[in-house]
Symmetry: C2
Subunit: 462 residues, 2 copies
């Protein structure tokens, strides 16, 4: 049997044990935004890693802990730092879940639970692959390091300091992580960068208390109208942002990147059908991927004011809150964009408070490095189909920390099914995606270990 056949047979033989291990991890809530069960989950993950031959420990940070692990072969070189996050998004609204978010449930070949796809069901593939390869006698003579954080869904506030403090401990040749959904066609995605993000909360205040809308509405300022009028100055109807300087430092795609973009399959009708929409939004001259990879966007991610519950409440609200998320592309700087948003608010509605909720810089690694090519090939072999290669992902992740602070090439792949419903009710991973993900991680370890060590040590591109 070939190495590939032996790995696949090994996965098939221990299938229910592998699923059981994932379910154990999913059963433990770990909602970083709400501080729910995160420490407990770190301990569960550490125990699972230890049982899989990885020396693991829970390491404190200023926030939720990091679970750090090492697979060590005496005298060997550390090729990879494997990253993942064991924290999950808030599960609300609970009533939209078919089965409870923290009771993993198998239906129709899928495992349903908060974190099934994002990211427990993907990070655990690296851990499972190590023991699988070791048990089969196939583990290459290299070292691997693991860093699983508990704050990714809160935009990793403690990670920068942790990486600076432990830069020596985390030394490796390349950063690798599996997160996010595959392409709608089912093809895995390999990507070399992420967008940045600036999360902003705008708070407008009217009177010092909620008032009767009939007795006070009109002559007393309405903070909801204040925010509506402020927000309406921020965009053209086609989605282009009017905030001064919002598009400064946006780098347009290179010729090679345009080529990569053109090779990404995109079935517009299928995407619309899946999302239940009849038309796309945004500037009509920009393609879906150009918008998500090479353009900053401004999303309203939350609005709250007054009363929208059952029945009728005749209230003039005393406060209105809006959350905005600006997604940034290279070479934009989150602090610069926040300053521009704040300046815009000062100009159009100086009484509105602007709070910085979150920030994360964009990041890019060259897709032409030998290790980049090796990983693309391994993922393609594992899934039996050519990966979709994306220069940048629309989402944000702390890539820039690894590329900037640790100086590593940063490479990401996606193992989960397209309809994993991450950040939404009924999150899931198909059993096929999960098992193939383990196979993919095993192949990545084997192929990168086989590279010429001199080729591996290429400086990160920033």
């Amino acid at each position: 049997m070939s190495l590939e056949e032996r790995i696949r047979a090994g996965i098939e033989a221990r299938k229910s044990e592998l699923i059981g291990t994932l379910c154990r991890l999913l059963r433990q809530p770990s909602v970083s935004a709400q501080g729910l069960g995160v420490d407990e989950c770190a301990a569960v993950l550490r125990d699972i890693m230890a049982a899989h031959g990885i020396a693991a420990r829970v390491m404190p940070t200023a926030g939720h802990p990091v679970v750090y692990g090492e697979y060590q072969v005496p005298g060997a070189h550390t090729i990879m730092l494997l990253y993942g996050h064991y924290d999950v998004q808030p599960p609300e609204p609970y009533e939209a879940w078919v089965s409870p978010p923290f009771e993993p449930t198998i239906r129709d070949g899928r495992i349903y639970a908060r974190g099934a796809g994002d990211n427990k069901g993907q990070l655990i593939t690296h851990v499972l692959a190590v023991k699988l390869l070791a048990d089969l006698g196939l583990m290459p003579k290299v070292n691997l390091k693991f860093i699983f954080e508990g704050e990714e869904e809160s935009l990793s506030p403690s990670l920068p300091a942790f990486l600076r403090e432990h830069a020596e401990l985390l030394r490796a040749d390349v950063f690798y992580a599996a997160d996010g959904p595959r392409h709608p066609s089912g093809r895995p995605v390999v990507f070399f960068g992420v967008r940045g993000v600036v999360g902003v909360e705008l708070v407008a205040r009217g009177a010092n208390r909620d008032l009767h809308s009939g007795e006070f509405g009109g002559p007393v300022p309405n903070p909801a109208w204040t925010l509506v009028e402020l927000l309406s100055t921020m965009r053209f109807p086609d989605g282009r942002v009017t905030i001064e300087g919002f598009y400064d430092r946006v780098v347009p795609p290179t010729a090679y990147e345009r080529e990569l973009l053109a090779r990404i399959p995109f079935d517009a009708e299928e995407v619309k059908r899946d999302l239940g929409i009849t038309a796309f939004a945004g500037p009509p001259d920009l393609s879906w991927y150009e918008q998500l990879m090479f353009q900053p966007t401004l999303t309203i991610s939350g609005m709250a004011s007054g009363y929208t519950g059952p029945g009728v409440k005749g209230v003039l609200p005393s406060e209105a809150v809006v959350r905005l998320e600006a997604r940034l592309v290279a070479d934009q700087d989150p602090d610069d964009i926040f300053a521009k948003i704040a300046r815009h608010v000062r100009r159009y509605a100086p009484e509105v408070e602007v709070r910085l909720l979150s920030r994360s810089a964009p990041s890019k690694t060259s897709p032409e490095l030998p290790v980049s090519r090796a990983i693309v090939a391994a993922i393609g072999d594992a899934f039996g189909v050519e990966p979709v290669v994306k220069p940048v992902l629309g989402a944000s992740a702390p890539s820039y920390l690894f590329s900037q602070t640790l100086g590593l090439p940063v490479i990401w792949a996606t193992y989960a099914n397209y309809d994993e419903h991450n950040h939404a009710p009924n999150e899931n991973i198909t059993i096929d995606s999960f098992l193939t993900g383990i196979y993919a991680s095993a192949l990545v370890f084997a192929r990168v270990a086989a590279l010429d060590p001199a080729e591996l040590r290429v400086p990160a591109t920033g």
Copy 2:
């Protein structure tokens, strides 16, 4: 002792018993919007009325019941129909209350509880005044009827049919009610009309589920932006509404009404200080009272979309909801205004759903009728100060049902302190306001009973 002195002494003598009866009523929740405790409250009110010499019964409607009562003297004429509502606003946000909303608590001469001012603490004064006068041998030989409804805070959906069905039972010469706060100066208010209201909910939808804002924000429609852009087409920044025809049929104040407006005291700085605002909103050429009595207004009373809870959630919301309240003046028609709002939405954002949540017509009675003058004088004597006479109140109430369906002159007074915080946390009534209210109701009964019966039977003005 004069009649006035005897009534006041009687109130002083049974003060703690009177407060105890109100607290019994306040202790029973009755949130019509949430269906919380309303039936139970009707039974409590009926029992209190029965114990005060009023033949009372709970009468079903299509919604929450009416508590109907009669004080009968054989062979006497029914001069008044006394109206009030025993339902209350939702108490949310609970955490803003110093003491729980349904545990009446006395602090610094005030009774704090949801409904203390609006309207339990005012409707009960009529009931308490009847027994007081009867016990003192001062009750005039007239009949009184009482209609206390349980849906006013939900805009009285079942009242129209109830009034039509029981028009004969409810026959009287004049409609009288006590509701709302006194003027900031402490002077009671007597008013002869109310504004109408149209409550509308706008619902915008994007994808069929919440999505990851980084992976989908931009090319996938954002319903929050849809509503922001739609709302921004509805007003000028000064609050004037741009919806076509919104000001049709608005009747400007008559010369006499302008005179009444000019006589209403208004301390702009004191109002600003109390509300914690630095400037008024709305068209600068309109006074506070002209805006609230003679102009329709459009208030955003609620907004909800996405996530604004603790932490950060990177979500592209699938739905956004906004509630609007248009307050209407004579001779505007709620159905007409709703149709105009719906037409505006169809023109600017045809994909947005428009729901009619509530409707109530405006109403006016002449302040120059003999019964109008008698009641103004009685209220003035009770509070020891000239009442503020308002042609119209900014708030809405089912006045038009009594003026249109029953053909009665409709007269309202306000007994509660200005800072009763109705529709808001820490609602309260001062003990002084409450006790003086009982005195006022007793004087109103005595003075209206003393009018020439021929003068009393004046047709309502509409």
